[in-house]
Symmetry: C2
Subunit: 552 residues, 2 copies
Amino acid sequence: MAILPPGVSAESFEAAIREFRGAIGNDWVFTSDDDLYSYRDHFSYIKDQPNELIPSAAVGPDSTEQVQAIVRTANKYKIPLYAISTGKNFAYGGPSPNVRGSVTVDLKRMNRILECDDTRNFALVEPGVSYIDLYRHIQDNNLNVWVDTPDPGWGSLIGNSMDHGIGYTMGFYRDHFGAHTGMEVVLPNGEVMRTGMGALPGSDSWQEYKHGYGPDPAGLFGQGNFGIVTKMGFRLMPAPEHWRNGLISVPKRQDLIPLVEAVNYLSDLSMTGEPWYGSPLGQLMGNTEFREAALSFNEGQMDRQAESAGLHSWQVELQFYGSEGTTLANWEYAKELVARKVPGAHFTDGESLSVPLTREQISNTTGPYPTNMRRNVTQGVPGLGIWYMTGRTDRNPNDWNETHIGLFSLIGRSGEAILKAQQDFADISRRLELPSLFPNAIQTPVNWYQFGFLMGNGFGLGADDSSPAGKIRAAEKLREVLQENAKLGYGDYRAPPMLQDDVAEQYSFNNFVLRRFNETLKDAIDPNGIISPGRAGVWPAPFRSMRGGLRG
Amino acid sequence: MAILPPGVSAESFEAAIREFRGAIGNDWVFTSDDDLYSYRDHFSYIKDQPNELIPSAAVGPDSTEQVQAIVRTANKYKIPLYAISTGKNFAYGGPSPNVRGSVTVDLKRMNRILECDDTRNFALVEPGVSYIDLYRHIQDNNLNVWVDTPDPGWGSLIGNSMDHGIGYTMGFYRDHFGAHTGMEVVLPNGEVMRTGMGALPGSDSWQEYKHGYGPDPAGLFGQGNFGIVTKMGFRLMPAPEHWRNGLISVPKRQDLIPLVEAVNYLSDLSMTGEPWYGSPLGQLMGNTEFREAALSFNEGQMDRQAESAGLHSWQVELQFYGSEGTTLANWEYAKELVARKVPGAHFTDGESLSVPLTREQISNTTGPYPTNMRRNVTQGVPGLGIWYMTGRTDRNPNDWNETHIGLFSLIGRSGEAILKAQQDFADISRRLELPSLFPNAIQTPVNWYQFGFLMGNGFGLGADDSSPAGKIRAAEKLREVLQENAKLGYGDYRAPPMLQDDVAEQYSFNNFVLRRFNETLKDAIDPNGIISPGRAGVWPAPFRSMRGGLRG
């Protein structure tokens, strides 16, 4: 299945491969089908189709200098590159590039933890460093900091932040791109640039002041294609001495509004970690009468049934980080505040644990799934438990739709916005005949980003048909969902490569001026368009005609 | 003193002025010396010199559309524009442009508070909105949020954040650019762009998720010249119910190291607002023996003299935001933590106040200057008290050197870095024969940026000679200080226009690759170079030969 980069002759490609081998060694240039197998998205909707997003080759540099050499060669032969860190974000395309035939630049050999400072509270790492790597380094060296990890801990700090990924501890640290502290980037012309105080030779404050001096282009590299990041700093949360959680529930549907206001207040004063919203009424969805009420948004009926079942309508779990005394004070204050705002609110004390946690406390599996897995990530302990939910475990390996199972759209951070979004997403789901019970009237958003709510939608696509044609239809359906969402003002925050053009279409203000602006910048610094063309819908001039080319 | 923009003929300029008048009305285009008087930097080192950075005209648009019209005209006639919000940041050049003869775009008529939400905790404002304006709006409407204000409250939220300005409440909110939530910008070609979720028409989450989708160019507009910002959102801190402060002191010079570690820890867990470091030993600087010890960094001698005077070497004041109970728990924990790390540490309870503060509490002037003024800003109350320190009050109006009184350089966020920087800056000061007693061995940094320390240096320049020639010599001396600082890895975070090229020279990594990268981007989107050419050392091609032109 040997393929070539678009517009590149076999001779040119061979010459480039020879140069890659010369620059980084024979052992680290991969061209055989066997070697390239691991650089495919095995959950892809277009797996084995002629347009599957697979690379022509892969290269594994070990240093910034080797990345520079690769970029120079790519420029010479006009070969598109696609950089991955660990390439394990299977929910978002894994290692697959935007352009079929790209050369994958696999950075996982560059896995050095260059600094990890637990008094100034930062780390400087290379792209191959995973959350698990950093966690182990911290444990081995008894350092007094935590990692803020996303669900799968095998991911790269740099890769995750580059895709605007998230975590589960205190607000500031959960925004992984926002918590970066400057980066080193190999530019499309092969030069090495450092942002922030990294631009000042010999500076001792690179990881402590990200803005540096003058215009800061760092934001262009997140979900972008302006260079290959080879080093990046991140703020680390100090290890608190104590962790505590607690559960709040409120009786009526409309109580969600004051509940969210109170939690926003606590969150924005940094008194709580990630609020985890849910509804105890999920238990009633097996009850036909209740399900009817929930699917038809019959609020009065839902409240009556909740009351007669003795259940509250909404709940939120909060985590607290600090000392035993401060976490208790914060929790007590949370109770006081919510009680003041919501009559009938109920409070359940959770766990109260000294840090460092014991191994037994970390692996404690009591409590309903996914409480325990979730508890680990709120405690800065990376793992792979999430694959219980979306991975291929003991299920049918053809259950291809276990990943890419849905979309996450931004909604307003209020109870009103949640109640409206439920109806909006349910309407779209019904109109487009999606198979799932969700979205419905008890769905809640995630509050990963401290100041934003992300609400799932487009669930269960294609669950009825996992044939190749069914997968393609499912992908088209997802595109329709994205379009319908955008009409109502909902936009997605990330997507696998095959849907990135479609998400980019949502952001159309003033005839796509933001995208046109970014593409003007892109053309200026990458005239051959070799760095990840098409990423997040930004197409450089030489590849621009490929925009939307994956649509059916 | 009629002047013209560089390279523009009198005829072209007149034609442009006519177009400006047509677009925004006769009353809002200023060309007379009288009208332009307020657009000069009256504290400038080169006041009344032939190269003084003064505009050729000023225009006062009232809407985004009018800004667009101005930009289109400027492009047509190749006239450099320089946008100001309120133009009152007199410590950093006030309204003066980087290029003499620019047309000042004064945005202060665009002063609408478009949204101020105290449940989702943000504001969306135009450039003319000052901290005082927003504070009044919040008071008048009984909203439950605070402003995080810099020292002079008459400044613009947008203008201040565009210059990477700072405030005094909780960590996240103190970084005014970092706390932005997306912006609307008139691009150099006159188009209007919105960043973040603003790129999605009809989005309800513009102010709640700043990254938006794909590469985010927002960082290019801070200390930049890539467009004119016409709207911008900011996160607002919820009004806490209680405010409390406390003072910690530690006896010995080396105790600064564990003190900073403890405070970093508290700060990074969001348990305290801005730490305000100082040294009680300032009282001894009148004592010849102590001053000798301090100027020669004789640590043993300093410790002995401090002990015999019954004084501690260092102190830090902390603020706490929350409820009465949580602020108390945080303060008690701060005491416990520091006591554990620093033998002999001393703790003084400060004030403990319910919010909202009464008018009497706000204007309470007990306590030594500048404690009270400082207390106001830590409580989100904007004012103009800072001008006590640097303004022209009852002093000689020729004391021109009252502003631009020093530089602020980033240093590492540790006690070790402070002690080293004191010596480094003192060495430079001595070598360059600066007149001041500072920097010296009791100087402390400011912790405005949550994760960074800024240390003052270059103090007292030119205090000996306020003649025109003396001012020019003083400016040259500042340039020498900047060069010496950079050799030791210290870089500045902001500067007035006349020193911006010099600060940019500090950031020289890889032959100024960051500046070259930014200039490549600049040329791509502003081929005529009309938006603030030279700002932060970024010169567009048509003006590039002017780089460093202000140097003696």
